[in-house]
Structure formats: structure tokens, C-alpha cells
Amino acid sequence: MADANNSVLVILPGIVIACTALLVFMADTFVGRRKEILPWIAAAGLVAAAAVAAAQWLDVDELGSLWDLVTGRGSAVFGGREGEAGFAGMVALDKFAFYCTLLFCVIGVLTIMLSDAYMKKRRDAMGEFYGLLLLVIAGMFGMAVSTDLIALFIAFELMSLPTYVLAGFLRGDVRSGEAAVKYFVNGAFSSAVLVFGLALLYAASGQTNYAGIAEAMSGLGADAESGLTVVALVFVAVGFGFKIAAVPFHGWAPDVYEGAPTPVTAFMSVGIKAGAFVGFLKLFTIAAVGLGDIWTAALTVLAVLTMVVGNALALPQRNLKRMLAYSSIAHAGYLLLGLIATGASLDSAGSSAVLFYLGAYTFMNIGAFGILVWIRNRRAFRYGLDEVAGLARTMPWTAIGMALFMVSLTGIPPLVGFWGKFYLFTAIVDAGMTWLAIVAVVMSAVSAYYYLRVVWYLYFREAPEGAEVVADDAGPALGSAVAVTLAALGVLALGLYPSPLISAAQGALRVLIGG
């Protein structure tokens, strides 16, 4: 078992993020009027955490399979030192966690830049905003490293609680407040369901450690698929389904996404979803690997419903923020295919497709929301579809960006969204569930209607009256523009040359499903 120093080493990126959050909270009281420094501190903390994770990744001489790490049979060697599962097996450092940490830091930095336009008008609240955002990212990091039900639960809550506050960040705004109440009630309910599922899993196996659960379950043989186990896994799947807004647990998502501040919505639709997916990927593929039949069946139902209903509900939306909310539900459905493929075939292709898709989705969805933030920064804008009509003439570059993100979200080559869907659908076909891939492809075609309709409005509709650019009081928000530009470059570059991200995603998974 690891000694204390190695335990700290294992969660070092998370410690950096959490300490930066505290630093932001404290600095908030000392900087007086110079609040502009706070986002820089927050971004610097994330970059530092990413650097730590990258250094650890490069420093890994030899990495046993995660399975061996968790069970204590193997160890990762960091530049001569051993660093393996820490805190009595509660967390384990592996390439999976490195990949996720880097992804989360990218999401965090993009969100911080994106919120520039937003926070300029709310300078007093900057400290709370960036501090809470960092705490959420620390929770997401916890989801990626935890290999124990207790650690998973704590990380899940650390990820959730600050998000409730961020959703209701506009104090006095009834919509934002309503979003916070709805998100809190739904989120807390889903946490309770999840933790009850975890408690039942503990009751069924007598273990809280993932490896211990898997061993206990395989020891039970046929008895493992008892009613208790089924109920436990269904409860866990329901709690997870709430967090990723899978149908039929999606009821909160459109209202929360519409009411929350737009940068927070962008973050929730990408970051929280990524955190939930990586946490549950680990839980399902390590702890419940022998029970693949049960949770694959549960998730298949969720995936079909989510893809069909999410896309169908997005069709009539004329509010862009709400349309993106429903489309984000549909994307959760596509992502579930990767988990199902892993559960059905015990092959890591599905899981690495999930990791790749989370990276691709980060760029296109943060970009799409970023365009909305940017338009609102430049003129009066209430997220209506009619309001972006003729945008190609008034704001040509913005229109190009928007079209790029919409085409990528549809999944048309050569943009990154295509590769994301390609790997997910290939994985599910290889797992022998071709019918599910057909459903997914058909629903992608349906999604083309509402995504490409936006492009149609941008380029082939006349602009409404009063749509000309007017300068914002606070001036143009360069951070938001940079965030959108980076996202657009990411979508383009990874679309034309996806192999680095793909090999990273595959390398991250090679250790996960080894045993």
C-alpha cells in the first residue's frame, strides 16, 4: 500500500486546483477594485494542474493495468519513485485520469475565458464565480481518479454542489433563481438515489473498493446477479442518468440550461457531463465489469430514449439556448453508446470513443454557447432563432463560427464531430449491436434539421430590424472572442488531423480494461 507521500502525489493535480480555488476566494477580499486579476489566477491554477498531470504522464516509466494498480498487484513507476493507488486504494492514478485532468483543465480555461463578457458587468461577484468553478473542476478530477464508492460519492457531490450555486448566479433574476431551485431539487434527488444505489452495491458485495467489489462479485458466481445487485445497479444508473440528463431523467435540463448564465450553461453541458461520464465509466467497467449484462441493458434503454426524445424535442425549439440544451441531451445519448459497447464486448474501444467524443464535444459545444455569449456582448440578443437571421451580413466572422459549430455538432466531415460519432458508432457495431448504431445514425440525420436550420437562418434570411452591431457598455470581451476562436480552431484542426487526440484517448484506456 502506498505511503502518505505517494497518496498526495496521486491527487496532486486536484490539490493544485482546490488550493487555487481557496486562493481565489481569499484574493477576492484583498484585491479591492482590481478584480480582473482573479480570472488570471484561476486560469493559472488550471494550467498548473494540467502541467502537473502532463508531467506525471510523461514521467510514467511503466504503467501496469489499472486493475493491477487497484488490487495492489502492480504499480506505476514515476521517474524511479513508485506512485500507485493512494489513500488505501480510494484513488488511483492512471493514464485515464491524466487524460481526463487535461480535458477538464481545457474545459475550465475555455469557460473562464468565455465568462469574460459576462463577468465584466458583475465585477463584485468575480471571486465567487471563479472559485466555485474551480471547486467543480476539482470534483470532476475526483470523479476521474476515484476507485472507491466513498471517494466517488464525495467527488460527485463536490462536482454538484457548487454547480447549483453557479446556476443561480444572477441573484435577483427570477429565471436564474428558478434554474437554481430546479437544478438543486433534481440534483439532490439524483444524488440521494445514486448514493442509495452505492449503499446497496456495498450491501451486495460487502466492499466499497472497485476492485474489491469486482472480486466479491466474481466470487459469488451466479448468485451475484441477485435482486439486490440489479436494484443497486439500476439506482446507480438512474442517479447517473439524472446527472447527464438522459431521458426520462432530463426534465430539469432545458429549464436549467435556459435560466442559468450562458457561460455556466456551456460549462454544465460539457464539464459536468464529462465528469459524470468518466466517473461512471470507471465504476461500471471496473467494479461492475462482471455484471455487464445488467447495466448494459439498463443503459441501452436510456440511450435509445435519450437519442430519440432529445432530438425530437430539439426540433421545434426556436430559442437557441433551449435548442442547444435539448441537443446536449441527444449527445448524452450518443455517448451512452460507448459505455454500452464496452459493457457488451468488454473491449476498450467504446470507452476510448467516449473519451474522444468528450474532447470533441468540449470544443464544439463551448464554441456554440460562446457564439451566443459573443453576440449578446455585441448587441441586444435574447437567444431567439429569428434574431440571428442574416447574421452573415452584420457579423460575418461570428456567422462563420456558428455555422462551423453547428455543422460539427451535426457530425458532418471533415469536422471533429464527425470523428467523434464515427468512433462511437463503430464501437457499437463492433460490439454486435448494429441496430443501436442504426438508431443513432437516423437520429443524427434528424438532428441535421435543427442544426442546419440555424445555418440557413444565418446565411439565407434577411436580418430583422435593429440587428446592427451596437457597442456593449463594457466594451468587447476579448476573452470570449479568444475562447470561441480557440474552440473553432480545435474543431477544425482535430477534424482534419484527429489522430493525436485519438491515440491519447486509446492510450488512456489501454490500462483501464486490462484485467
Binding site: 454542489l161 443561480g168 433574476d173 438543486f184 431539487v185 448514493v195 449503499a199 450491501a203
Partner: protein, 102 residues
């Protein structure tokens, strides 16, 4: 049935009462109380498993301590949100939060 099953049954019943409260109640304060009930049902299950199931002593008790702590944090955040909303809308009734639909 062995003792553990009875305790788990109690936990399930308590959990269902809490879940019903969350789904049926319109007053957000009562919703938060029902959430607490659900988490306490989890605690009963965890402690019972730690007590009665072989080979799992410490983890369940430890887990329940964390659940208690997290529940306290959750109520704090929840009540804060409810109070902020009460200042804006002068109500804690959940069905009055109906600005957004569709």
C-alpha cells in the same frame, strides 16, 4: 429473513417516503426535509451492512459519516438558494417557479 434484510427493508421504506415527499410536496422547505430523509435511509443501510455483513466493517461506517457531512453541506446550499429565491419572488412554493416552459 436475517437481520440485515429487515434493516435494508426499513431503509427502503424510509427512502420511498422521502422520495414521495420530494416528488409530491410543493413547498421547497419540505422538499429539502424529504431529501434529508432519503439520505438518512442511506445511512441506515450503510451502518446496518457494516454491522451485519461479514468482512466489511469499517467502510460502511466511514461512508455514513461522509454522507452525513455531505447532507449538511447540501442543505446549506439548498436553503441558501431557497432564501435567495424568496427574496426575488416572495414564495417558497415550487409550482410558482414557472417562468420557463417547453
Amino acid at each position: 429473513m436475517n437481520p440485515l434484510d429487515w434493516w435494508l427493508l426499513l431503509a427502503v421504506l424510509l427512502f420511498c417516503i422521502g422520495a414521495f415527499g420530494v416528488l409530491a410536496r410543493r413547498n421547497t422547505i419540505l422538499v429539502i426535509m424529504s431529501l434529508e430523509l432519503m439520505l438518512n435511509a442511506v445511512n441506515i443501510a450503510l451502518v446496518a451492512v457494516a454491522q451485519f455483513r461479514a468482512g466489511s466493517a469499517g467502510a460502511g461506517v466511514l461512508f455514513s459519516l461522509f454522507v452525513i457531512t455531505v447532507a449538511a453541506a447540501e442543505v446549506t446550499v439548498g436553503l441558501g438558494i431557497v432564501i435567495a429565491n424568496y427574496r426575488a419572488k416572495r414564495t417558497v412554493q415550487a409550482d410558482r417557479f414557472d417562468e420557463m416552459k417547453g
